[in-house]
Amino acid sequence: MDRETIKKQIIEIIADILPDQDLSSLSEEESLREQLGMDSMDVLDIAMEFRKNFKIAIEDEDLVKLSSLNSCIEYLDQKISSKSH
């Protein structure tokens, strides 16, 4: 799965959680907490959706890695490629 596909899927997940927010100008670097007011409960929810959509197990201590769009993409990219090896 390439980077763009992963990004697209992550944005779809966030759009599902936040249907009232405009995500078109979402920055890849800035934290999701800052941009969308997401808290730890939401990060957990994003992780739950990653687990369900990408069929990967996520460790609790990895949640801190899911702070920005970029870090989510990197994390998933690495998880998915290590799964297929």
Partner: protein, 464 residues
């Protein structure tokens, strides 16, 4: 008899049960909700009656939804949390915010709206020497992280007294909080005090344009989109048994096996179902008598009051034992007098504290007679506190703690749960039995939705 197997079983299709089931279903667990009635909602449901020429729908519990927020709002408010947890969009709720509400205690009156600055200004005008103390308390409320709150009972009234040094101001501010959430006779737990203070004053009151059915339909319809959910009505749980590798749940009609049970029926009833000893002191005496006035839709009276809380005595409303109603205090709710409500103001509710044992002692004739007396009494309070309302009702209904018990099976007709709260949901040696709803320690519709979701997240979902 064959038993059906589920990952999780949820007892009760009230708001905590519906929200718990939906969270678990969203992440692919096979769940069943067992509900004794034929429609969802529990305490917060609705019924239909012929009033005048038309059939109208009356909500059973809802005065107002707490925790109001505007569309697109981010941050720590509770309502956006609920939208996110269940993937609802704001507009689906059709929320109409309150106009303004009044708290009247003896000869003092203060008004509040969904703008905390309005309340703050009124505090400043009425209690200039205590305004700064009020502001300090507001700051304290805002900084409390209620998600981390897991402490035994501590007095909410003592907590606010440590900030505000004026008994009248404390009583005014605390009265709606106690009315809308306390299962204790004289006080309220500080956790609930803080969450309700936030819910009522800092976030505010609103109501879905079409009432409680809007929210129930949202949950029910979303649940029905999942094939892994069975919403089973008219099945009252009759027996619970902890077996070696499963929990066996029996209704009169079927038997179910599951790994975990999430129950909204409360601590005393769970003990009862498990055949364990129930201590009577766990039962709360707090229940309500409500008189519902329905008016002709074509004539409207214009006034600004959404809710009026009144208390004419110095004693706490719940202090009176074994009375049919607490006569000196009550809540008047103009059910459709919210901003941008399409309908005219059609229903007004007058609610008093009521005691189950006093009502249950009456024979049928006395029961009906007392209901009539209370309807007249409610009319007199309405004339006193809402003199602009001059219409004659086309339909009047009155329900008592006995009615609540009959329809919800809540012991004593309890509305805010038993006096034991289990904030982590665990009440039993078996960690596979989990309490959700009022006995988990959250009250109100938003509180119960959050309770169901947070217990599902904590005990039913896993990242691994």
């Amino acid at each position: 008899m064959n038993s059906k197997e589920y990952d999780y079983i949820i007892i009760g299709a009230g708001f905590s049960g519906l929200s718990c089931a939906l969270r678990l279903a969203m992440f692919d667990h096979k769940v069943a909700i067992l509900e004794s009635h034929s429609i969802p909602g529990g305490l917060n449901s609705y019924y239909k009656r012929k009033a005048g020429k038309e059939i109208i729908r009356i909500d059973t519990g809802l005065h107002a939804l707490t925790n109001y927020s505007v569309k697109g709002e981010l941050g720590t408010k509770l309502f956006p949390q609920i939208l996110k947890q269940f993937r609802f969009s704001y507009d689906q709720f059709n929320l109409c915010p309150q106009i303004k509400s009044k708290i009247i205690l003896q000869d003092q009156m203060i008004e509040f709206s969904n703008d905390i600055n309005f309340l703050s200004q009124n505090v400043k005008n009425l209690f200039p020497n205590h305004h700064q103390e009020f502001l300090n308390f507001l700051e304290f409320v805002k900084t409390q992280n209620l998600n981390l709150y897991n402490a035994p009972f501590a007095s909410g009234l003592e907590m606010i007294s440590s900030f505000i040094n004026n008994k009248n101001l404390i009583n005014l501010l605390s009265f709606p909080i106690i009315c809308y959430g306390s299962c204790w006779p004289k006080d309220i737990d500080s956790y609930l005090y803080l969450s309700l203070f936030k819910a009522i004053y800092l976030e505010g009151l609103s109501r879905p344009r079409e009432g409680i059915k809007t929210i129930l339909d949202l949950f029910e319809e979303k649940l029905k989109t999942y094939k892994n959910v069975d919403l089973i009505y008219k099945n009252q749980v009759a027996n619970l048994e902890i077996q070696k590798n499963a929990i066996r749940v029996e209704t009169q009609k079927s038997t179910f096996l599951t790994k975990k049970v999430f129950s909204s029926i409360g601590y005393p009833k769970m003990k009862d179902l498990l055949g364990e000893k129930l201590h009577k002191e766990n039962l709360s005496q707090v229940s309500f008598v409500e008189v519902v006035f329905v008016y002709d839709e074509e004539k409207d009276q214009a006034y600004e009051e959404t809710i009026i809380f009144f208390n004419e005595s110095e004693t706490n409303i719940f202090e009176q034992k074994d009375v049919l109603i607490g006569k000196s205090a009550g809540v008047i709710c103009c059910v459709e007098n919210f901003k941008s409500s399409k309908k005219l103001n059609k229903i007004i509710k007058v609610t008093f504290y009521g005691n189950y044992s006093a009502w249950s002692k009456l024979d049928k004739k006395e029961y009906i007679k007392n209901k009539k007396t209370i309807i007249d009494y409610a009319k007199s309070k309405l004339q006193l506190y809402l003199p602009k309302e001059k219409r004659n009702p086309v339909y009047i209904d009155c329900f008592t703690p006995k009615t609540i018990k009959r329809y919800t099976s809540h012991l004593n007709g309890m509305v805010y749960g038993s006096t034991d709260k289990f904030k982590d949901g665990l009440f039993h040696a078996s960690k596979d039995l989990i309490l959700i709803g009022a006995d988990q320690g959250n009250v109100g519709i938003t509180g119960c939705i959050l309770s169901g979701a947070s217990m599902a997240n904590k005990h039913g979902l896993s990242l691994r």
